[in-house]
């Protein structure tokens, strides 16, 4: 079989399985956290990510070797998961608020080791995070979504653009404006609490 034929052929079943296992072990936790932040329900998040992975499995079955070689697994899986999530939400529930907590109950934003040892600091940080969560929730829809994907899910501008089918310039603008709104809201809130 020449190189061209090999590239066009599908992955053997054993390789599909091996690659799939690798994808599950690498991306299951971040994808579950990604969906959990949106649904707030661990069971729903597990169902959605499960279904997304099964989608990915059948897609790998029909992808050519060349497609798999050039596949950017991370954005591809996020896109599949996002689609499953959107379908799920459109069928079942209204959009949920963005939650900053991870499945284990930890807060999403990084906590220093030092803070882990200081409960009062952790509590304070938790309070601030909840305030931030409320403020992010209050942002208008395109900004809330984009800010969540950019900062909490750590997706790049390009990955968000591909996920939402919007131009990358629009995403950058949304991130910029969303942050500005967030900063302004935070300042207003702090100003009010000082008074």
């Amino acid at each position: 079989m020449d190189q061209d034929m090999e590239d066009r052929s599908n992955l053997p079943a054993a390789q599909v399985d091996a690659y799939y296992e690798q994808l599950v072990s690498t991306y299951w936790p971040p994808l579950q956290a990604f969906i959990l932040r949106r649904t707030g329900s661990p069971q729903d998040a597990e169902d959605i990510v499960q279904e997304a992975f099964v989608h990915a499995y059948y897609a790998l079955e029909r992808y050519s070797l060349q497609q798999v070689r050039t596949l950017q697994a991370r954005p591809w899986l996020y896109k599949i998961t996002w689609n499953v999530y959107r379908n799920y939400m459109s069928r079942i529930k209204p959009p949920a608020a963005v939650s900053l907590d991870t499945p284990s109950g930890d807060f999403l934003l990084d906590l220093d080791d030092e803070w882990q040892e200081r409960p009062e600091a952790v509590y304070e940080q938790g309070e601030r995070r909840r305030e931030l969560e409320t403020l992010v929730d209050a942002l208008p829809e395109p900004y809330r979504e984009v800010i969540g994907l950019y900062y909490f899910d750590d997706l790049s501008h390009q990955e968000i653009a591909d996920l939402l089918n919007r131009p990358v310039g629009t995403i950058k603008t949304h991130v910029h404006r969303g942050l500005r709104m967030l900063r302004k809201a935070l300042q207003t809130k702090e100003g009010r609490s000082i008074r």
């Binding site: 066009r8 079943a13 054993a14 399985d17 799939y20 296992e21 599950v24 072990s25 299951w28 069971q43 729903d44 597990e46 169902d47 959605i48 990510v49 499960q50 279904e51 992975f53 099964v54 989608h55 499995y57 059948y58 897609a59 079955e61 029909r62 050519s64 497609q67 050039t70 591809w76 896109k79 599949i80 689609n83 799920y88 069928r91 079942i92 653009a161 591909d162 089918n165």
Partner: protein, 395 residues
Amino acid sequence: MEHNDNERRLTTHARQQATPAWSMDSEAFASPAALALVGLGKAATYLETHPEYLTAALAYSDWVVRTAAVQVLGKQGERTPLEPLLNALQDEHVAVRAMAARALGMQGKRTPVEPLIVALHDPEWRVRTAAVLALGKLPNGTLIEPLVPMMHDAHAAVRAAVVWALGRLGEQAPIEQLVMALQDTAWSVREAAVMALKEQGERAPIAPLLTARWDEDSSVRQAAQAALDYRFEEQPGQKLVPEHMGRFPSSWLRLAAATISVVILIPLIAGLFGGDWYVSRSDTISKLIALGVVCLAISIINSIYQRKRFSAWSGQQGAQPGSGESTIPWHGVVLLAISAIALVVMTGLLLGAVTAGGPGITADIVYFILVSRLIALGCVSFTVVIVNKVFHLKR
């Protein structure tokens, strides 16, 4: 969401409790649900190394173990007995049925077609998808009749699998159906359609692939670009454009715009530097700045209007390469000729009278004028090159 609460409980239960009758402890088979659903994980690993338990595992009460057993059995090739796989296709659990369809598709010439056709009507999309993929792998060619109606399946994964399977039919692949699939609402189906059309080589029309390069989804766009790159390499001046792309200017309009952009520089140069051409140094510098601004504006307008990537293919939109039509980029040749003439005229206008001198014109001023006019010539030449380049530019 097709997982109901019952299934969710089953999944969790399976991950924690799956204990076969033989010598395994309860944690031994615990695997992430995403693996268990496709027959992978610890149960499969165990059964691969202990095939003597496969028969018992196929009848085991837990679906995680049954799915793993079917998955392992399917990979055994010629040694695989078909009977247990056919029985598994009737299993109560969707994961077992889907894996049975997949396993049957791995049996090459032994793959039974009829049970897979029946499985196309399974209520679960996972089973239907696996059945379509299995039928697509038949060594003697996919069956068109049962698959074509599946292109209207409610689930995108099934439709994508159908498009993939139809694309493997070679000469018999229904091109029209594949092109129609490019209009599907799901990006995965459109992507599969692009890949299927790529497989058709010269049989596939180019226009739909070109249109797919502007799909809203990045995966579809990339697949379309890869398909076009695979089929032929675009040559400079032979840029392909989709048919019926009304929102883009026609090649003649574009040529007219580019020509005007070049020709308009002649009266501009004549107006700025002709006649009583020297008043003062500041006056000359002002003229140079004005010329620079105009040239920049012309370049920008062309870049936007010509849209970089929409140069015409052989003067005929939608023409196919390799179809025997002329591949000389006539529009580009015309523009180049007009540009050359315009440049000669402008050079004459700018440099013709420099050495003429006049009352009160010192050598110092002549040098200044010469340098100014060379700058002006550079400005217009650069603009002409930009206009030509943008007109021809490949994506």
